[in-house]
């Protein structure tokens, strides 16, 4: 098939699919990036929240320390120690929170610096204020009270508080900016994703429409044309408007239709010719046999006259005249059969619904002599009503049963006639236990004048089965034989069943 210069459909479909895949992939990647960003933002926001919590916890611890300290120093009673307990606990706990806070801001140098400063301030508060004051409070409560009122601790805490404030503000700013960024990114990703999906949708619709236009419609056109062609419209063609695989298909189809149409025309022509020559041949045979009848009758009449009037004159010549008579008789038989054969299949049938049993009965009446001579036993099953020409089908039964009692083996002949339904047809059979035949000869025996045996062994012109075939074929049925040499044959033929 001719290669075309245009891009083949395969390539185009592959390109379209690849484009769609790349597009879908890109959308997917963008979505993944967005989701990842969102998750990172959430994680870092959570981290920042943790940092804020740790910071708040630290501030609370410091306030607990300071308040406990002041309670401890201010109260003169013996119960003052109880003020110290929460402070002592907070003193033991705060380093852990501080370390946690340091860990949480480790990714931000600016915040790390702030936390470092806060850590120094807290350390100073604890080591240079809280602990010395507790010691002082234990040994010299009055002196401790005078120290507490200077508010040194409060000032330190205020300073620490201020530093925490800037730490928190910065952390919140970081959270906000991260959230903003993540939100922006996810909004962009959603827009991108939706846009991508719309694009994919449009592309899908476009690809579908393209495939419909480029592939489905041409294929349907070719399929319709094929249907028309199959239903006998041999002029069916498809328009060729493309230069790709489908164009090739259309061209191939048209080429096939062209050659089909041409072949059909040739067949019809040769068929008509055959029919015509066959008819001529039949006509010729019919005319010839009819025309031969008269001279043969004349010959036969003259031979009889010679025998009757001049038998004495002939001496021994009477045997020769007898020979002429016999040969003439044979020739007349032959011509009669030939005439019958040429008429069979040409004469219009007189179709009627007729019980097959009646036809068989007539055939057997005609064959009463040979059947009795052969001492044959003929059994006839119940037979159906068929649509047939009485005379013709009677002739078929007569020929088949005649053959059955003629080609007998060295045992008493048995002939069975029956029928069975085969779709719209009835199959009739005539079965015998005669000599049978080689299956290789099963076809040949229906050819006119084809004989399997010599005239001496089994007399006959060899045209009986050919006549049967013509009659059955003219009825729309067919005829065949199955046989086992030496065991017998079964001749079958079909006839249309009578209309119910």
């Amino acid at each position: 098939m001719r290669r075309t210069l245009r891009t083949p459909i395969t390539t185009r479909v592959v390109l379209l699919s690849a484009t769609a895949s790349v597009l879908v992939g890109t959308v997917l990647v963008v979505l993944i990036v967005a989701v990842t960003g969102q998750r990172d933002a959430a994680r870092s926001a959570f981290r920042s929240q943790e940092a804020l919590t740790a910071g708040n916890q630290l501030e609370k611890s410091l306030i607990t320390i300071e308040n406990g300290l002041r309670g401890f120093v201010a109260s003169g009673s013996r119960s003052r120690e109880r003020f110290l307990q929460p402070a002592t606990r907070a003193l033991a706990a705060y380093p852990r929170d501080l370390r946690r806070l340091e860990g949480l801001v480790a990714d931000d140098p600016g915040q790390q610096e702030r936390v470092d400063r806060i850590a120094v301030a807290i350390d100073d508060y604890v080591r240079l204020w809280a602990r010395p004051l507790i010691e002082l409070g234990k040994t010299r409560p009055a002196a401790a009270r005078s120290v507490v009122v200077t508010n040194g601790g409060r000032e330190r805490l205020d300073e620490i508080n201020r530093q925490f404030g800037s730490l928190f503000a910065r952390e919140r700013q970081v959270i906000r900016s991260r959230e903003d960024r993540a939100e922006q990114r996810s909004a962009r990703a959603i827009a991108f994703g939706v846009g991508g999906l719309v694009l994919v949708l449009v592309l899908t619709v476009a690809v579908t429409m393209y495939l419909r236009r480029a592939v489905v419609r041409p294929v349907v056109t070719v399929a319709e044309a094929t249907g028309r062609l199959a239903s006998g419209e041999l002029s069916a063609r498809v328009p060729i408007e493309r230069h790709d695989e489908l164009g090739d298909l259309a061209r191939g189809f048209n080429a096939m239709a062209d050659s089909l149409e041409q072949n059909r025309a040739e067949l019809e022509r040769s068929n008509a010719e055959l029919l015509r020559s066959n008819a001529e041949l039949d006509q010729f045979a019919s005319v010839t046999s009819h025309d031969l009848q008269a001279p043969l009758t004349t010959i036969s009449m003259y031979a009889e006259l010679i025998e009757r009037r001049h038998a004495a004159d002939l001496n021994g010549g009477i045997a020769l005249v007898d020979g002429i008579r016999t040969a003439t008789q044979e020739a007349r038989t032959l011509i009669r059969d030939l005439l019958e054969y040429s008429r069979a299949g040409r004469r219009p049938l007189t179709l009627e619904e007729v019980p097959a049993g009646e036809l068989v009965g007539r055939a057997l009446e005609a064959l009463a002599g040979p059947v009795a001579a052969a001492q044959a036993q003929v059994t006839v099953d119940a037979l159906p009503v068929v649509t047939a020409d009485r005379a013709s089908v009677t002739r078929v039964f007569q020929n088949l049963v005649g053959n059955a009692v003629k080609f007998t083996a060295d045992r008493p002949p048995e002939v069975a006639i029956g029928a069975e339904r085969d779709g719209r047809m009835w199959r009739f059979w005539v079965r015998d236990n005669g000599i049978g035949m080689d299956p290789a000869d099963a076809e040949r025996i229906f050819v006119p004048f084809k004989r399997l045996h010599g005239e001496e062994a089994y007399p006959g012109t060899g045209i009986g089965l050919a006549i049967c075939e013509r009659i059955v074929t003219q009825h729309g049925g067919r005829i065949w034989v199955t046989s086992t040499p030496g065991a017998g044959s079964e001749f079958s033929f079909t006839l249309p069943a009578a209309e119910a």
Binding site: D124, R127, L128, W129, P132, A143, A144, S146, V147, G152
Partner: protein, 310 residues
């Protein structure tokens, strides 16, 4: 983190040193040669009490030490003697400048009140050495406590000595730091030595008492004799014939461990600074702090440069 802070301070000190130009050249050379050794151990943690003169003293000692390559972390404004000494003995500090009289009366609880400053110094040093600490050299100046009144108030009640306060009718309000109420060099001593019953204190942050005095919110103020405000001669200091307020020379209190760690250089530098701190010098510097509002760091830097200590 502390290391970072030290680094910042060190860089700052070096920057300041660099600004000095040619005259600080020899000092810088020794700085770089010794800083390598000093950097090996932990830095010297120096604290100061919570008033301008104390912070100034901290700046003076620390800057001079840093100029000689000693790494110092300065923790200013810790609090009164009671608490800063507790921080020192608790191990949170290595050194801080302290007033000998206060040290004896309020920390050592020694009420013998030696009249001779040297005797006081010896007693204080002996006290510190019993606890693993010691005193470095003493300053020439003494910043004693005193009671100041306005000239008008003095005239009105004919006041010359603290004992004269007994004649003032009603209550005499003394503006003073909180610890004044519980110290011997405060209400305790005033009551014991002068039998003052009509006085009570109004707690004020150090430095605020002058304003309170000017505004008439208090009748008298507990002041220090080196206060910058006194250089303007607008106040009358009441005499203390019965010796409630002891001489208050300054000496750095230092742990023996720190002394061992930083070697003789610490003593040499601190003593060299102490020797230059005379009463006029201190009053001048205090005035610069309190009246001119200058930074202790800048004031100390200027003084050390002039004294060739930096």
């Amino acid at each position: 983190m502390r290391r970072a802070l030290v680094g910042v301070l060190l860089a700052l000190a070096l920057a300041i040193g660099g600004c000095g130009g040619g005259d600080g050249g020899s000092g810088d050379a020794t700085t770089s040669s010794t800083s390598g050794d000093a950097a090996a151990g932990p830095p010297l943690r120096m604290g100061t009490k919570n008033f301008p003169e104390a912070v100034l003293l901290g700046e003076l000692y620390s800057q001079a030490l840093r100029a000689k390559g000693v790494r110092v972390v300065l923790k200013p404004n810790i609090g009164s003697s009671e608490i800063i000494h507790e921080a020192l003995t608790g191990g949170a500090l290595d050194i801080y400048p302290e007033y000998i009289g206060v040290l004896l009366s309020e920390v050592a609880n020694d009420r013998s009140r030696p009249g001779d400053p040297r005797a006081a110094y010896r007693a204080a040093k002996a006290f510190e050495e019993r606890n693993g600490f010691t005193l470095l050299g003493m300053t020439p100046f003494s910043d004693s406590n005193a009671l100041a009144v306005t000239p008008e108030f003095a005239r009105e009640h004919d006041l010359r000595t603290i004992a004269d306060l007994r004649r003032v009718p009603g209550t005499v309000r003394i503006g003073a730091p909180p610890e004044f109420a519980t110290r011997f060099e405060g209400l305790v001593g005033l009551r014991q030595r002068y039998g003052l019953r009509n006085v009570h204190t109004t707690a004020l942050a150090i430095g605020r008492q002058y304003a309170a005095l000017d505004a008439g919110r208090v009748d008298a103020a507990a002041v220090f004799t080196t206060d910058g405000q006194l250089s303007r001669k607008r106040y009358v200091l009441l005499e203390d014939p019965r010796g409630v307020f002891a001489a208050q020379h300054v000496a750095p209190v230092v742990s023996r461990a720190a002394l061992r760690a930083h070697g003789p250089q610490l003593t040499q530098v601190a003593d060299a600074v102490s020797r230059r701190l005379t009463a006029p010098a201190m009053r001048r510097m205090n005035a610069a702090l309190v009246l001119e509002g200058r930074e202790p760091r800048a004031v100390a830097d200027e003084f050390l440069r002039q004294a060739k200590l930096k």
